[in-house]
Symmetry: C2
Subunit: 269 residues, 2 copies
Amino acid sequence: MFIKQLEQRQIKANSLLCVGLDPQAAKINTLQLSLIDWLCAIVDATAEHACAFKPQIAHFSALAAEQQLTDIITYIHQNHPGIPVILDSKRGDIGSTAERYAEEAFVRYQADALTVNPYLGGDTLTPYSQYTDKGVVILCKTSNQQSGQLQDLVLQSGQPLYLRVAQLAAEQWNNNNNVMLVVGATYPQQLQAIREQVGDMPLLIPGIGAQGGDLAATLKAGLLKNGLGLIISASRSIIYAGGDMDFAKQAGLAAKQLKTEINQIRVQI
Amino acid sequence: MFIKQLEQRQIKANSLLCVGLDPQAAKINTLQLSLIDWLCAIVDATAEHACAFKPQIAHFSALAAEQQLTDIITYIHQNHPGIPVILDSKRGDIGSTAERYAEEAFVRYQADALTVNPYLGGDTLTPYSQYTDKGVVILCKTSNQQSGQLQDLVLQSGQPLYLRVAQLAAEQWNNNNNVMLVVGATYPQQLQAIREQVGDMPLLIPGIGAQGGDLAATLKAGLLKNGLGLIISASRSIIYAGGDMDFAKQAGLAAKQLKTEINQIRVQI
């Protein structure tokens, strides 16, 4: 069960921090390191502070780095067991094709969860959620500036579209108790409305760090009474914290700092 | 310009048929052929009837067949120049990541167009449409059974969500005149409403063949007066028309038959 695995790790590491792995060739090349060596160094330096790792697949695909994506996920499973890997792929296609995407994430890459897009409807999400031991993280309210162009549209019922997605996720799409939602830290008000809609469903929160999301407002809006329920994801602000040969040490310090910052606010809520 | 390239091919081949390339290992293995040999044979057998080829990337990713995807697109460009390749990837992510997906499709794979998902909003589509010589095909009304769960939701304005997407595509997202829409053949009424919304924008139509879409109703609802404006895509019904060693011949015959069927209806409209 993904959600149980995640919560166990969050408690054990005392951390809600998810470290995003978005390799950029230009930044890594200046270090004269191979991609896999860079990835392993970042993972080793940040693991003790991480409740999850989140490789973003586009950053690997653009570099033709499928082998390195395979290798780093294997490396995490072998060297840091208990830390789940969320493959950030935001897939979305009709059923017969969604089955192939599920194979890509869960069989080929051995990810523990993946992100998906709800625009095609519930029958296109079942191929992922039927992997009952895996997690399915559905886009709800994304962190980008124009996310409201569709997501904030108000329906005849008076409900904005993103809340309808949250409702469908909680009431219709979660038969296997492995569904979660993506909600950007840049929209704490919407996060609060989503939290009220979905009960204790875990929420993956991008947008902290480089994207400028509000950490305190996010925790206040989304944290559960047990201090869990949120996966706070940061990528660039951690993995590129240092640009020199001490990049791994700087990444570890940045992860520790953000974890600590989250925990300091967390105990006050 | 992708749309001009597409129309030139449609006129030259007298065909609106797009051949979808969805390799399934189980079916190809029984032929004792390598994946690339199978792909080349299918492409050669169907090319004269095709206005475009549409490889579906999940079917390659699940097989770890990135090299074969690269090779078949190169093969099409070299051996069947003038036939555009639409990479069916349905990508959707925030701007900095969308740039990587655009690189994947247009730089790594040298596709002429790709399919994308609109749920994240217009700022996430610009990274694709800024490749002004490439095409961007945005999901509007998809062919699957539950596509209406989100796409048919009625907004306060009285407009269903899919029509709002069509309107945004026509009025706000098409600054470079390279935007198209995906509309499933399984929903001809919605197709007609979309056609009225978007003028002469080309529409990619999946759902004919294995999915059971209505060809005559589709053409009636979506065809432009010049006999163009639609890309009718079929995959399984063509590429798996024959299961034996005459698979390529059977695929060619199925492509010819569907092209002809389309053209017979087309001249009556």
